[in-house]
């Protein structure tokens, strides 16, 4: 009933536009979301509709469609013979929400026909600009850890070279085109993150960028719902290997699926090191990580502000690339020292009353969850692990979440706080199967859970938030 009524609420049009924007105008994703929504009045929870030219047109179109439908209903009522006038006008009034939605989707489809040639033009122009650019291009692909790798590389290489990298989620052809347009042409190194949503995505990007160096950060279940099979995910990510020489492709050796796809000549990196660099004596805490970097007769004690025992892997990749690009050891050490926690990725913050909050809310994949649990387990204090689970794990949803539950139990985490949804019962199953000794707490949504945590915690407690579902999954 609420679903039916809320579709007839004035807020419905705004909600439709927001849903289209949040789904990145993917009609299949939009329709799946639309099917799940129970109350269209309360869609914008984590984010809000951004008014761009496209959304303004959609919003206006939605209202025009609604008013036109109601106008048609009035016209039918007075001009169509009885009793059909009643039937037709009632049908139009009751189905006005459907007509509005179809109008918006029709517009989205139409705009693609306009957008496609524009996009092709922009991509061609970007390819041309990049081929003329003197900078070394490094491309990063993978199911997880791309942003962290990008930021680490950028920080370390910036000690000796002029480096540019797109910010936030500029990992699509249009995003990269926008970034390239802003370049000064005097950059020494350009770093690109390659987004992968469908087979062929990475190839399309590498054909545009033509990278000299590549990094595969790993392969896992992220976006499995779109790919269907992990093999397809791996195929797509390793499209990067087609355009990068084997000796210039770094592959995360800790990712089983990525390691299996690596070829002779590729450089495997792990927390033990990368290329010629070896890592020894790593120790991590809330201030970051310290370890020794060794290469031939060089030994450097380095400190990074980034947390987690897995971080020496990406840091040693940065050290190896920096070394190969001619940076001095001193510059490499200084660059590593300047790396800081990334926003919403194992980012420690201090709450009032001496409570530590670790924001890992942008980390929504199984490898990231494993690293977060490992880090949390290394800390002293009463530990809370809060999660709504992971999204898009496809057919492996049960396996992935039960594994998280087992790892939490093995790490002896004191409190596991779960947000009620379709996947968290699997985490509970994993916890029970591993004879979890701590307490399991349940909340209906993350916002309420976060405010409740203020009431649950005492000084010295550590709260880690693992992933936060975007509105389209909540």
């Amino acid at each position: 009933m609420i679903h039916w009524l809320s579709r007839r609420h004035p807020q419905y049009i705004r909600s439709l536009v927001y849903m289209l924007q949040a789904s990145e105008y993917n009609i299949v994703d939009f329709l799946k979301w639309h099917e799940r929504v129970k109350d269209f009045r309360h869609i914008e929870k984590r984010k809000h509709l951004m008014f761009t030219p496209k959304t303004i047109i959609l919003f206006t179109l939605g209202w025009i469609a609604l008013l036109a439908t109601l106008g048609c209903a009035a016209f039918a009522f007075y001009h169509v013979a009885s009793p059909w006038n009643y039937l037709l006008s009632a049908l139009l009034v009751f189905e006005a929400p459907l007509i509005v939605m179809v109008s918006l989707l029709f517009f989205v489809v139409c705009i693609r026909f306009v957008q496609y040639p524009v996009e092709q033009f922009l991509i061609a122009r970007t390819r041309k600009r990049l081929s003329a650019h003197r900078g070394i291009k490094i491309a990063i692909a993978g199911s997880f850890g791309k942003t962290s790798m990008r930021e680490i590389l950028k920080t370390v290489l910036s000690e000796g070279r002029k480096v540019a990298a797109p910010g936030e989620s500029y990992n699509t052809p249009l995003g990269i085109a926008r970034f390239v347009k802003e370049l000064q042409s005097d950059e020494d190194v350009l770093i690109f993150e390659l987004g992968e949503y469908y087979p062929g995505d990475v190839r399309k990007l590498t054909q545009m960028i033509r990278p000299e160096w590549g990094i595969v950060t790993g392969v896992n279940e992220a976006h499995l719902e779109k790919f269907g099979m992990l093999e397809k995910t791996a195929d797509t990510i390793f499209e990067l290997a087609e355009s990068v020489g084997a000796s210039r492709l770094y592959v995360n050796g800790e990712s089983e699926l990525a390691r299996a796809r690596s070829k002779n000549g590729n450089i495997l990196y792990t927390r033990a090191g990368a290329g010629e660099w070896q890592v020894e004596n790593p120790t991590t805490d809330l201030l970051g990580i310290t370890f020794t970097l060794l290469k031939d007769d060089v030994s450097m004690n380095v400190r990074s502000g980034v947390c987690g025992l897995h971080i020496p892997g990406p840091l040693s990749v940065a050290a190896d690339i920096a070394s190969r690009l001619g940076l001095t050891n001193h510059e490499i050490s200084d660059g590593i020292a300047k790396t800081k926690p990334f926003a919403h990725r194992l980012e420690p913050k201090q709450w009032p009353d001496d409570i530590t909050f670790i924001d890992d809310s942008y980390n929504g994949n199984s490898d990231g969850a494993r690293a977060a649990i490992e880090f949390l387990a290394s800390l002293q204090g009463r530990r809370f692990y809060v999660t709504p689970g992971l999204v898009e794990a496809g057919t492996r949803v049960m396996e992935v979440h039960e594994s998280i539950g087992r790892k939490l139990a093995e790490a002896h985490i004191e409190k596991v706080v779960l947000i009620r949804n379709s996947v968290t019962p699997h985490i509970e199953s994993g916890l029970r199967a591993a004879s979890f000794k701590g307490e399991i707490l349940w909340y209906d949504d993350m916002q309420f859970c976060l405010s409740a945590l203020r009431s649950l915690t005492t000084p010295g407690d550590i709260v880690l938030i693992q992933n936060d579902w975007p509105d389209q999954y909540a």
Partner: protein, 391 residues
Amino acid sequence: MQKTIAVIFGGKSAEHDVSIITAHIPIIDSLLASGQFEVWPVYISKDGAWYADKAMNDLSFFKQDGWEGKVGGMRKTGLLFDNGLKLVLPGLFSKTISIDIVFSAMHGTYGEDGSLMGLLRMAGVPFIGCDIFASAVAMDKVLTKQIVASEGMPIVPYVWFTRTQWEEEKQLVIKKIKKLTVPLFVKPVHLGSSIGMAKVKNDTELENAIEVALHYDDKVLVENAIEPLIEITLPIMGNDEPRVAECERPLNKTEFFDFSDKYLSSGKKGGGSGANSAYSEVPAKIGDELSNKVKELGVCVYKALGCEGIARVDFLIHADTKEIYMNEVNTLPGSLYHHNWKKAGVSNMELVLELVRLAEERFARQKATAYTFHSDILRKVGSSGKGGSKL
């Protein structure tokens, strides 16, 4: 199944606004966060009208401009004593809400002084905190000292008198006060939050301070001020087996620890939210031996007054001799002193849920007590037996 809990706050008291804060931080916030209760906020206005509306579960309601007008526009809530307490929300579709338990967050008069507890006892509903007797005694600083002293526990020398005595026997009262040692503290006997309280060093200041105290109360206490002084306050929770939180030392900004220190300070030290978060040292750095003595004495005072649920015992300690004196007892510490309990390892939710458990435990015990008995007295009274009947 969720229990229905009414959180009563506001009231005809000088501590009306403090009560609103206590009700929300930590009580309502924690009750809602626990997911175990349907929470009905019951606000009593300064003129004594009762209102219940779930919009008041959010503290921001009371921070908006003109909130008092919004409350005034609500329908007043009625109370029904019908095998427990029921809230009656009037209107076209009037609604009756059966209350399983009451959490009183009322400071000062009509709330913390036992008045509300009497009402709730009559209604036959479990309620959080001290019962009517401990509340009434603790509200009277003189009665508290008399009971504590009678149990052999230390208090500072004091004199008390009523408004009538001051007006009719002023010289006699002053003569008694002269036996004390200056500086002195002058306090209204029934007020909390240091309202109307003053520290005096000479006769002029003394008379002025007494006049001020009599403006707020009709019973005044004058007592020796301890110098050099260490003030310590100790939150305690429990029924038969009380547990203590941490000894807390107020960090005085004014010469004594007044209302603004308690509720309006905005330093960073406490770091938390709520009333008493920013002005004190927790745990107090007074050494383990002295801390343990204070805690031991605190539990004795708590038991002597018959406190249950939660209370806070305040002490005065001579900084040189380390002599400890019981100062006063507060049966509803501001914001339940949740900042202190947190330091003692008790989260807001654990604190609030434990208080609910203690209230239910006491209620179950009271239900097992017989308050009535069968008698033939009515049948016999006035009967026409020879010589009548003797009652």
